[in-house]
């Protein structure tokens, strides 16, 4: 074997193996952000307890580029036990054992913040999620779930020609503090442990209801 030093087999591949493995994982890794992380609520951007103000700063973007959305939210309680609820076709009666509970939320935000299209989710002690306001939800309120119906504030510009923070003519600016109480269809006997407020996946705000 003494002559082998001159023409022994190449060993560069030993160093290449870990590089190849890392490259393979990275090349496949796009699935994790695309199919999992960005397609659900996976990043808690703020949290707090019931009846305390939670300050939220969320990174978002519109036609003009990146911006931050800032607001404060406080969970003030669950109310209501209506059996009437809204669907696309109009009002209907919820099935036996289910009620529409209103989620009482107080908000504080500058009038120029875009707060339409929020989704509110109640999570019970069995991990079941009940949601209103998401674009995929057919039942319940839409668009103005977290804002006053008459003065919801501005929409996010979706083309360059629109300016940020403009309101339709004759619409009054949103007050700097207001309350909203969207209703969610839930089982009458469910015990809720968490409420989430979310605008865009994967970000959400978590408010703990039972401690």
């Amino acid at each position: 074997m003494s002559a082998a030093n001159d023409n022994r087999p190449s060993r560069w591949w030993i160093a290449a193996v870990p590089v190849a493995i890392v490259t393979m994982l990275l090349a496949n890794g796009f699935r994790v952000p695309v199919f999992w992380y960005q397609s659900g609520q996976h990043r808690e951007i703020a949290s707090g307890d019931a009846n305390e103000w939670v300050s939220v700063t969320e990174e978002t973007s519109d036609a003009h580029g990146d911006l931050t959305r800032k607001y404060d939210v406080r969970f003030a309680g669950l109310g209501g036990a209506e059996t009437a609820y809204e669907s696309r076709a109009g009002e209907f009666t919820l099935p036996e054992g289910m009620v529409a509970r209103s989620v009482k939320l107080d908000f504080r935000a500058e009038p120029d913040q875009v707060l339409k299209h929020c989704a509110v989710t109640l999570i019970d002690d069995e991990g079941r999620e009940y949601r209103v306001g998401h674009v995929e939800d057919d039942l319940g309120a839409k668009i103005t779930v977290c804002v006053p119906e008459e003065t919801p504030g501005p929409s996010a510009p979706i083309v360059d020609a629109e300016t940020r923070g403009t309101l339709p003519p004759e619409e009054q600016p949103r007050p700097s503090e207001w309350s909203a109480s969207p209703a969610i269809a839930v089982p009458a006997d469910a015990r809720f442990v968490e409420v989430r407020i979310s605008f865009e996946n994967p970000d959400y705000v978590r408010i703990r209801l039972l401690s």
Partner: protein, 211 residues
């Protein structure tokens, strides 16, 4: 010599490891296959994300409405009841498989026919899925119901639960079903039971009220 033995041992070990991976890891077919849960008419099929029940099957040349919709072959209308147990869910994959494993996609052409269901947690959703099919597709027809819409490589529901519900059509019944001439009236999909008194289009409502 010793080095030769070591190299041989290394190669054999690497091949053994490769064999273990190909034998025990889900590759190719197994990595893509959905999890099929089978059932029959009036049986509830429990999927991870929803319970699916076929409550009625109709074969007709005409779906009533304004305008009524005539089938190229015959309409196979499948009435379903679906309830999401854990979280709001969108089911966009409803298709038909016949005895020869040919696939038929759902049609939107008939009034009130739907091709997807947006489910609120815990609220039973009623939907009628319509397929315009030729005679030979009736025998052994099965409804497939899942979250991802059907596409040619079935990538949208790989590794996901899929309900496969036998619609109970036997070869001997095909002629009689094909000869049926009665038009079928399809109720609006949504959270209201089709025969509930407050259904938006109750059977005795005048035809104009449906529009």
């Amino acid at each position: 010599m010793r080095r030769g033995i070591a190299t041989a041992a290394f190669v054999i070990a690497a091949m053994g490891l490769g064999r273990l991976i190909t034998d025990h890891m889900p590759l190719t077919d197994a990595a893509d296959k959905p999890f099929i849960q089978t059932g029959a008419v009036d049986e509830t099929v429990a999927l991870d994300y929803a319970d699916v029940t076929v409550t009625g099957v109709h074969v007709t040349p005409t779906i009533m409405g304004n305008p009524a919709s005539a089938a190229g072959g015959r309409w196979l209308v499948v009435d379903t009841e679906i309830v999401a147990r854990q979280a709001p869910t969108v089911m966009a994959g409803f298709f038909l498989v016949d005895a020869q494993d040919r696939r038929w996609i759902a049609s939107l052409r008939g009034p009130e026919c739907v091709t997807s269901a947006r489910l609120a947690t815990g609220v039973r959703h009623y939907a009628s899925i319509c397929f315009d099919i030729p005679k030979q597709a009736l025998d052994g027809a099965r409804l497939m119901a899942t979250r991802g819409p059907w596409d040619s490589h079935e990538s949208t529901f790989r590794r996901d639960d899929v309900a496969q519900i036998d619609l109970g059509i036997k070869a001997a019944e095909v002629d009689a079903l094909w000869a049926q001439k009665d038009a079928v009236n399809i109720r609006q999909s949504g959270p209201v039971a089709p025969d509930a008194p407050d259904a938006p289009d109750a059977p005795d409502a005048p035809e104009e009220a449906r529009q």
